[in-house]
């Protein structure tokens, strides 16, 4: 089974979803991410979904779940680079992901993180 790569950069973790994911891949990502956050004591997780073109309610909920799970482990998730079609689909599905932070691209997310770390 393919897995979503999770890269550690300093205090941050970067998970890049590179293709449209199957449900089991999404579940594996959730598990891996939990383990990685604990192991690396990361404070921030960037989930880059800019290559994701198709979502369903399951993947949408998964994104929210990852964020909630990370918060419990004292890390914050920023969802990066959501495509317009994906955003519209999620809104239509009623999944507005309240409380999940978002950024246009990785650069913007890092800028957000930088501001946070300095305050």
């Amino acid at each position: 089974m393919e897995r979503v790569p999770i890269v550690k950069i300093g205090k941050y973790l970067l998970a890049t979803i590179q293709t449209d994911v199957q449900d089991n891949v999404a579940l594996a990502l959730q598990e891996d991410l939990g383990a990685k956050i604990v192991a690396s004591r990361a404070s921030l997780v960037l989930v880059d979904i800019s290559s994701l073109q198709i979502v369903d309610s399951f993947i949408g909920r998964m994104i929210g779940d990852i964020s909630g799970m990370a918060r419990l482990l004292d890390a914050e998730v920023i969802v990066v680079g959501m495509q317009p079609a994906v955003a519209m689909t999620l809104v239509e599905l009623g999944l507005t992901l309240t409380g999940v932070r978002t950024a246009l691209n990785v650069e913007a997310a890092l800028a957000m993180a930088g501001i946070r770390d300095h305050t």
């Binding site: 969802v79 990066v80 680079g81 959501m82 495509q83 317009p84 994906v86 955003a87 519209m88 999620l90 809104v91 239509e92 507005t96 992901l97 309240t98 978002t102 950024a103 246009l104 691209n105 913007a108 997310a109």
Partner: protein, 287 residues
């Protein structure tokens, strides 16, 4: 619907083709539907003779059903004439009467037939012309609908300009009533523009939206939510006092949406978010 050879009026009609054409044009002029202001005499004569020869091509097929085979030329000629008339500004009844006024000229040469044959022939031709008129009326309506659809499409395209106000700040001035289809286009255009320009703030200005009901409010909230999911913030500006009142009376709340009274206010807020601010230029005296 075929006519047996001994009663067929077609040879009689064919012998009088020129007379029928003249009578038809005269009838059109008499009825006042030749509209010389829209169609010149030469064009009218050309149209009439084209249609008449197409009619005789149809007659040669032997069947009297204008929707059947052998009548293709008639249908395409009729369609062409109807559409061009619709574009020129002929009314629907004028266009249909153009075909219906062919009846009398077609009936008059039938004097040469026996009375019994004559009645049969008239009934047959009457049915035929009526069906031709129906085709005309349908085509005319289709032409109109095509125009309306095209205009709707053009309006959709015209009505959703996304303006770049500053590096990282987009504005979307909405004008006119928002319906689901339009909101969909607005949403798509805005989100696409956010990705293309990498803007972090979008201002939706609804000064030009005459009414806001629950549906419109819901659409606005959806757009704002979608933009937020992508990592951009949305501000809504230009809510007029009456509209604010309506929104409250309807019990709509705009949760998590920043609203400003004017586009200028929203712009200043947006600049503040990206760490810019506007200052007045100082004159030499003040220095």
């Amino acid at each position: 619907m075929t006519l047996s050879p001994q009663v067929t009026p077609i040879p009689v009609l064919r012998a009088h083709q020129d007379a029928i054409l003249d009578r038809w044009i005269a009838a059109l002029k008499r009825a006042g539907i030749s509209r010389p202001d829209l169609r010149s005499d030469a064009d009218l004569t050309r149209e009439c003779s084209e249609l008449l020869s197409a009619l005789f091509v149809g007659f040669s097929s032997g069947a009297m059903d204008p929707t059947g085979s052998g009548w293709e030329q008639m249908r395409s000629t009729l369609r062409g004439i109807t559409l061009s008339r619709g574009r020129l500004g002929f009314g629907p009844s004028e266009t249909v009467m153009f075909v219906l006024s062919l009846k009398e000229p077609l009936f008059s040469p039938l004097d040469e037939l026996e009375p019994a044959q004559r009645i049969d022939a008239i009934l047959e031709l009457n049915r035929l012309v009526d069906r031709l008129a129906l085709i005309t009326s349908e085509t005319y309506q289709q032409g109109r609908e095509e125009i309306i659809q095209r205009q709707q499409q053009e309006m959709l395209e015209l009505s959703t300009p996304v303006v770049k106000l500053w590096d990282g700040v987009l504005a979307l001035p909405l004008i006119g009533t928002l319906d689901s289809e339009r909101t969909q286009v607005v949403m798509e255009t805005l989100l696409q523009a956010i990705v293309e320009t990498g803007s972090t703030i979008a201002i939706i200005d609804i000064t030009g939206v005459p009414t806001v009901d629950t549906k419109v409010a819901q659409h606005l909230i959806q757009t704002v939510s979608a933009a937020r999911l992508m990592g951009a913030d949305c501000l809504i500006s230009g809510i007029r006092p009456q509209i604010a009142q309506t929104i409250i009376h309807l019990g709509i709340t705009l949760p998590d949406v920043v609203t400003k009274a004017t586009l200028a206010d929203a712009f200043i807020t947006a600049l503040g978010r990206i760490g810019q601010h506007v200052v007045a230029k100082r004159t030499d005296q003040e220095r």
